[in-house]
């Protein structure tokens, strides 16, 4: 286990204990942390597809919405327990992502736009399939997260612990894929897909797997969100914000890194809601937009590489 992994595990252990201890009694702050982890989950899934699959998606709202609706319907119509419905919802998102496989032939902005179109198609399906989804009226009273061994997962602390666990699992999976032979092949595809195919790598299959993994992660997060907010409507579940905010968060945090997107999501969500909204109660997004523009101009690699470089410089200065 290298030093960085040890640090990550230690940080995770601290988060499990410190956040509920410090904020557990404040529903509002815990609610914001929970919301930021939801964005973080989608940001990690988006970065995985972009970083490993080489595909820039503008339509992760599709998987998010499908996951949310799938879990809500599985629990409400079929009576499946919530904790079982959540991974099943991830699989339903994977199933829906199969419909996107033809888009894998596209690259760059064409793929991004095709995925955006899929998100619109799924939103319209959710609106029109009124017999199943209740149409634009949406679904309310979605079951809350259950109580397990006396611990209420529907409490803000419970939601936080569940989401942190999922996020940690996603990051571990992302890191494992990245370090595997498949990860090497995927990164090689970035430089030249044709050359990689010549040496025997099935690029379409690998890209498909990345799409499935990313869809599964996003679907699971969408499902958890449905049980957190207990309400879904097509405009909300498939809102463009679920596509845009994770991209912004990933780029802000450093989308070439594994943990950058998650850190970026938590930072921008909390800073926007706690600082910018306090400064400018209406229209606070303008400050966030300006900060992001400056970040992209002056630190295009994102927050995490920026911090690493600063740390390195400080160490260098102290050694000198």
């Amino acid at each position: 286990m290298n030093a960085m992994r040890r640090t990550a595990f230690a940080l995770l252990a601290v988060l499990y204990v410190a956040v509920p201890a410090a904020l557990g009694s404040n529903n509002y702050l815990m609610g914001l942390v929970v919301s930021s982890l939801i964005v973080a989950g989608v940001a990690v899934a988006w970065a995985l597809l972009g970083n490993l699959g080489g595909m820039v998606s503008f339509g992760h709202a599709a998987f998010f919405g499908v996951g949310g609706y799938a879990s809500a319907l599985l629990t409400m119509k079929l009576g499946i327990p919530v904790l079982l419905a959540i991974p099943l919802a991830g699989l339903v998102a994977v199933l829906f992502s199969v419909a996107m496989l033809p888009a894998l032939r596209l690259s760059g902005p064409y793929f991004a736009l095709a995925i955006l179109a899929y998100a619109q198609i799924f939103r319209i399906l959710a609106t029109e399939m009124e017999f199943l989804t209740h149409g634009s009226g949406g679904i309310s009273q979605i079951p809350v997260l259950p109580t397990i061994a006396g611990f209420d997962l529907s409490s803000r602390t419970g939601q936080f612990l569940l989401l942190l666990t999922l996020l940690a699992a996603f990051l571990a999976a992302y890191d494992a894929i990245r370090r595997s032979h498949y990860g090497i092949a995927l990164r090689a595809m970035h430089d030249s897909e044709d050359a990689t195919r010549v040496v025997g790598v099935n690029s379409v299959l690998l890209k498909s797997w990345m799409l499935f993994v990313s869809a599964f992660m996003t679907g699971v997060i969408g499902a958890v969100n449905a049980h957190v907010i207990n309400f879904l409507e097509p405009d909300y579940a498939f809102s463009g914000i679920w596509s845009v905010l994770p991209i912004v968060a990933a780029i802000f945090g450093g989308y070439r890194t594994v943990t950058g997107p998650a850190i970026g999501a938590v930072v921008i969500y909390l800073v926007d809601q706690l600082v910018f909204k306090a400064l400018v109660s209406t229209g606070h997004q303008i400050i966030l937009g300006s900060v992001l523009a400056l970040m992209i101009l002056f630190a295009p690699d994102g927050l995490l590489p920026l911090l690493r470089n600063a740390l390195r410089r400080m160490r260098g200065a102290s050694h000198a």
Binding site: N27, S136, G137, G138, S140, I229, N230, F231, E233, Y236
Partner: protein, 389 residues
Amino acid sequence: MTPLRLMAATFAVAATVGAGGTAAAEEFTVGVQIPLTGAMARSGTGMSEGIQTAAELFNKSNAKHKIKLVTIDDESNPAKAVAAVEKLASQGVVALVGGFGSNIIGPASDAASKLNLVYMTAGGVDNDLTKRGHKNFFRINNTQGYERAVTQLFEEQGVKSVSIVYSTKEATADLAKDLQKSLAPKGIKVTLHPFDPAITDFKPIINKIKLQDKSEVIFMSAYENDYVGIIRAAKVLKPEIKAIVGVWSLATSKMWKDFPDLMPNITGTSLLPYPVDYKQPEGKLFNDTYRKMFNKDVDYLAQFGYVKATLLFEAIARAADGGSLKKGGLADELRKTNKETLIGRVQFDASGDNLNFRHRMGQHQDGKIVIVSPKSEATGPIVWPGLPW
């Protein structure tokens, strides 16, 4: 007594009087969760101004109790509305007032219910909102009040056929279907045209009405941006109709100000004319205060905000006097409400609904809103046929 002792004694008396004054005026914080940005901002802002006016008037007239408002913009987003409710709860509010749009009020009032906080609104008319069994949910308006007002207008004008263009969202779909049920037995031919809330081009629907339905009236059960799209499409295609009628957030001064080319002769629900002409002293005081605070005339959204907030503040004062406020007695106190207000008599049933609610219809006429139905309460004649083109 030395000058120093005299000063100390004076200070002590002043401090005692001051402390007594503070203790007499007990302050209660009320949370306002309302959309000030996003799709519902226009309506949310109007309601918010009415709520602020209510607090101003309550504080001036009530020596024993003061209301402090803490407002959070829910950005027309259900998740942000839930966060706003939780933040306000963490700040120790005694109750919540606000919300606009049933799909946002639903999760926000669910969160308030979990936190055992009273939630008072005038922005959500979805029938399901009062069927959830929440003991702390109250609203002063409902679909039935809108449906009765529109039905009466059509009866008064002898309308024979109506094309209802409605958003498939919960509240708008409920109203469209309820209206169809009430118009059909009266021999009025009704054709329904549901639309996805995401669409912005209404020309295909208007073309269908023009070529197939050939109705006398287009009725819109929708929201502000939809109204604009529908009227704009109608203005382009010019179907042979007599009127375009809508409901909430349509007959407002703000809509005329923002869309002066689209609003002439458009009719929508409105409890009062614009410029407002209150007869009762409470209305005059509300109007004067509102004008001083916001430098404009009251419209019906502000009035809704004022009425719901005033009822809440008065119930808080009664519960505080009766000693039940801190014991969760505010909901019971609100349920005892039986008061003639600027929107008529308000009484809440067990589900928190105001069953006395009845709306009026107002028509945009040269920058003014004239109450045109019911005829007994009209402030001017209706322009019929009357269209923006």
